[in-house]
Symmetry: C2
Subunit: 367 residues, 2 copies
């Protein structure tokens, strides 16, 4: 029905197919008159060039693929990253294929069955690997020879990152900044509650520990079990803090959901926030604005992560031989109502640096 080809357009317009091709590709060397004539026929016939034929003959599909690996739960976090990728891709006239891909971590790279769309040649120009990834898949993609950029913060397992393009969230820096802020408020007994078996949990802990060490303070970390939910873990932490005598006056949580659990546990234990205990979350979640007590938290600019992933991929495509790149997206300390000096005095502590900053530029480095 609508399968008009360039040949038919050429015949009806009484020109050669090459002329029609020049017209649809906006080639400058076409007489204005001829161009108008051809355009009219194209419009009349409803001609649309065939995508596959173009891909075959050009070197590009003008499409990239966003792979969300091993998404085990509905994850607004990663969909925001996707939106950022799509936004950037659109700005450079590319399309994004969205693919979920689940795979076991322990299958050797050459035994992984890759999705058709990335296995076939020419369907996509490059890949963004997001979601939770393991080394085997990253190696399999590498073996394919297709350009890709990796969201590094969510890679579980040992993988050499120095020869890869990657974008990271600054969990470490964020946690450090938050801890320094708590210290500046006057807190000494500051605990960390997070998932130390996961890389981003460890990164948070490192930032926390580093800030504590610099101030000569003792660290204490509460570790999440695999079996409990973030909220349950938080509640447990809150209960523990509420019960103890020589207990924390402030906690840094590795996630907003943990922080909410802590609030609940403290509340059940009869402790007030922020008067008795200060709580800081991680990864500002807009929906939690409706909570009675707005959390002090580290805001994560998810769309910026996506845009940076895409930007880096296109830079790689433009420059295949360049050295590997690494980019770190800063977090933003949002000081709200769940933190106060020990004792809950409402003194005029100045905001920590960066807390009022707008979107910051990522820190990009050549490796």
């Amino acid at each position: 029905m609508d399968s008009t080809t360039i040949k038919e357009v050429a015949k009806i317009a009484k020109v050669a197919v090459s002329t029609v091709s020049r017209v649809i590709n906006d080639h400058p060397d076409v007489k204005a008159e001829t161009k108008q004539k051809v355009l009219k026929v194209i419009k009349r016939l409803g001609y649309r060039p065939h995508s596959g034929a173009r891909q075959l003959v050009r070197e590009t599909s003008e499409t990239i693929c966003f792979i969300m690996s091993n998404r085990d739960v509905i994850n607004p976090f990663h969909s925001r990253i996707l939106f950022g990728v799509e936004k950037y891709a659109r700005s450079v006239a590319h399309s994004v294929i969205f693919l979920e891909f689940d795979y076991p971590p322990h299958v050797p790279p050459d035994e992984l069955v890759l999705p058709r769309i990335i296995w076939e040649r020419g369907a996509v120009d490059g890949l963004v690997l997001a979601g939770t990834n393991y080394p085997n898949f990253v190696r399999a993609v590498k073996a394919l020879g297709i350009p890709f950029v990796l969201f590094g913060s969510n890679v579980v397992g040992r993988l050499a990152m120095n020869d890869l393009d990657s974008v990271w969230l600054d969990h470490r820096g964020g946690a450090q900044q938050a801890t320094e802020y708590l210290i500046k408020l006057g807190h000494k007994k500051i605990w960390f509650a997070g998932e130390l078996s996961l890389p981003w949990g460890r990164a948070c802990h490192q930032g926390y520990a580093s800030a504590m060490r610099e101030s000569g303070l003792e660290t204490k970390a509460l570790d999440k079990q695999k079996t409990e939910s973030l909220f349950e873990f938080g509640s447990r932490c809150g209960a523990e803090i509420a019960a103890g005598s020589d207990t924390a006056s402030a906690v840094l949580a590795g996630d907003d959901h943990i922080a909410l659990g802590i609030l609940a546990g403290l509340d059940r234990g009869g402790r007030k926030v922020p008067d008795d205990v200060s709580v800081v979350g991680f990864d500002y979640i807009e929906q939690f604005d409706y909570l009675p007590l707005p959390l002090t938290t580290l805001r994560v600019l998810k769309e910026q992560v996506g845009e940076e992933l895409a930007r880096m991929l296109f830079e790689r495509l433009a420059n295949p031989k360049a050295r590997p790149m690494r980019s770190v997206i800063p977090t933003e300390l949002m000081i709200r109502k769940s933190t106060a000096p020990p004792g809950g005095v409402n003194s005029d502590i100045p905001l920590a640096p960066g807390s009022e900053s707008a979107e910051q530029d990522p820190q990009v480095s050549r490796l």
Copy 2:
């Protein structure tokens, strides 16, 4: 580097290209021995067939496109629909291109500049139109002749739906069920708070009004202004209810965010929920589980909407001549803590029908 073609494989394996083609397409008429020989060469050379060449010569790209139109805010709602679409597409070995597309409502269809990926022929086999759409774009897509399915609930403006494939959320039925539940609890003064200028707001209101009418009760609707946020609107409603003397004992909100605002407004006005006023939301939002008072609300199965959109599209692709289809996805009444009989007595009111049901089948009809 990795641009091995079928020709090279054929030459090295000492067979014809047609034989290689049969092997990679799992054609049955290949001697096992030959197949093994070819497979070995393919593996050794890292041969991957070219996607564009296949598209050109086959009739399908095995790709569909999910278009999210005019998304003005970060919208977890529509990303969940996308996930459902991708899930179904993957189950039938197709890829999904994710495209955001913003357009003005008043440009005539033939003047809209369509995204390259849907304008080119053969790049995608069909389209899912989600997000907020206006008639002009739907008509432009129709003129393209490419099969598509429309998320009908979010279409703003007058558009004949009878000759289109569409999937709908049962706003009307859900609102009716929720209202009937409130009536059964014993409420008489039940108000509705929603956005009547939008089609889904009107649909909710219709269901509400219909249930009220059947019980001979008077309706009262509070309408959201364009300028206020959902939460602000809700707060205003809550304040109005708290202030009045001849006031509502229950409210049905057209959205969970409105319901939260109502809670806040009532609280500020000194009214207790559910003792003084019952509140029902719409579109269960998981994150709100952490609120002190879990909302009674209508759960919307967003991924199911997506899966149904995709299912319908593939049905259309398999059967281009079939009559237009329409499918309605039911909502699910979740009874929690924000509703009670008037006066707040904790009597043993039975659950409303459907409140405990698992995922229901959509209601599909041929038009």
